[in-house]
Point group: C2
Chain length 230, copies 2
């Protein structure tokens, strides 16, 4: 019991998708007491937030929901007038920044995570960013996280007192297949996760996120499980 | 008219206080079309947001209000169980980080400002941070802003495309007296601004913010005007 009380705390950004669920289990495997943070930013559907809740519950971790608004739009995920691209090839995904990019989204997420972490005395923030099999978002690259680490070091009380909160990106260099293999070892309940950008009864299988997920399961030689059994 | 249309846009973080009002007028004097962003983060009172509205209106600038919540508390400004310090000396203010520090507040503010700026195509963000006559907040220091500039360069679409949004801190090295003298030259309506951490009918005159404001007006040899005439 005392050992458990002494375990360091971590804030884990949990979206309900494959990557963040794997990240939660990676953080748990390192001995952290994880506090999940799920942010509803007005994305087109809240299906993934239901997934986040189910994943956190199964992992035995508390989850803090936060509802924020980005009233200025600027992304296909928050503005219904901008359609989500369908059926893009992986080489198309590698070119430029797609319309599903949400302006400064990960910066907003990390800022809240830093605030939450300071308030509860957590020593690390985990985020499931991935710079390999991804959609071309600039806020998924290692150099971005290095810059944000400096912000935390210099701009927080914890940092000023010489105990900066670490930002951990355990998936940053991994392929989707590697992520899935890691997750299977750690027991991630992928059947509870949701990747699709749309919020239908079933995944659309044609948005970037569905296509990357399917490719990952295929390359990991595992059957994809997509049924949300909440 | 066409000249006006071509003027660059800026997002100005406006709190309703003395510093941010001066910052707005500084940005206007540089020829920017300013879009104010006022964030209600659950601070003890909303008096300063009324001031922000009045200042923006007089300056002829649109203002976007945003209501956010930091449910984890951690500051005397957002948690009523933590009292706001009163009657501290300026040397006391210079020592350590006070309980009015809000975990990662400026990082959250700048993140939203970056998102807003990207969405409206603004080329700069103005924030009235001040590292001289201030309360010891780590997120008011120049090194912090330098780190955040890197985040913007690396983590936004604008930055990835070689047009990073600038972060302007025109007050960073100025004393409160210098800020007030600058503001008087620029025509800042200080009588509309609100500095007090508490939200009474009149400023308390004993919180850090009131004391720094009074010191500034005294040193600038100007009569302090505190009446909120909205």
């Amino acid at each position: 019991m005392s050992r458990r009380l002494k375990a360091p705390r971590a804030v884990v950004l949990l979206s309900g998708g494959l990557d963040s669920a794997t990240t939660l289990y990676a953080a748990k495997s390192k001995g952290y007491r994880c506090h999940c943070l799920a942010i509803d930013y007005g994305q087109r559907h809240r299906r993934e937030l239901r997934s986040a809740k189910a994943v956190a519950r199964l992992a035995g971790c508390p989850i803090q929901f936060l509802r924020i608004r980005l009233p200025w739009g600027g992304s296909a995920l928050t503005d219904r007038r901008i359609p989500v691209p369908r059926g893009r090839s992986f080489s198309q995904m590698g070119q430029g920044i797609p319309v599903t990019y949400v302006p400064a989204r990960n910066t907003i997420f990390l800022s809240y995570a830093a605030s939450f972490a300071e308030a509860i005395g957590a020593s690390a923030i985990f985020i499931g960013a991935n710079a390999r099999d991804y959609s071309g978002y600039p806020d998924c690259r290692p150099a971005y996280y290095e810059a944000f680490r400096q912000v935390i070091r210099r701009g927080t009380k914890a940092g000023a007192e010489g105990k900066p909160i670490r930002i951990e990106t355990p998936l940053i260099g991994k392929s989707k297949a590697q992520i899935i293999r890691l997750g299977k070892r750690l027991g991630v309940p992928y059947e509870l996760t949701w990747s699709c950008y749309l919020g239908g009864a079933k995944p659309c299988r044609v948005c970037d996120s569905c296509l990357l997920r399917a490719k990952g399961f295929q390359e990991a030689s595992l059957a994809e499980r997509t049924i949300l059994s909440e």
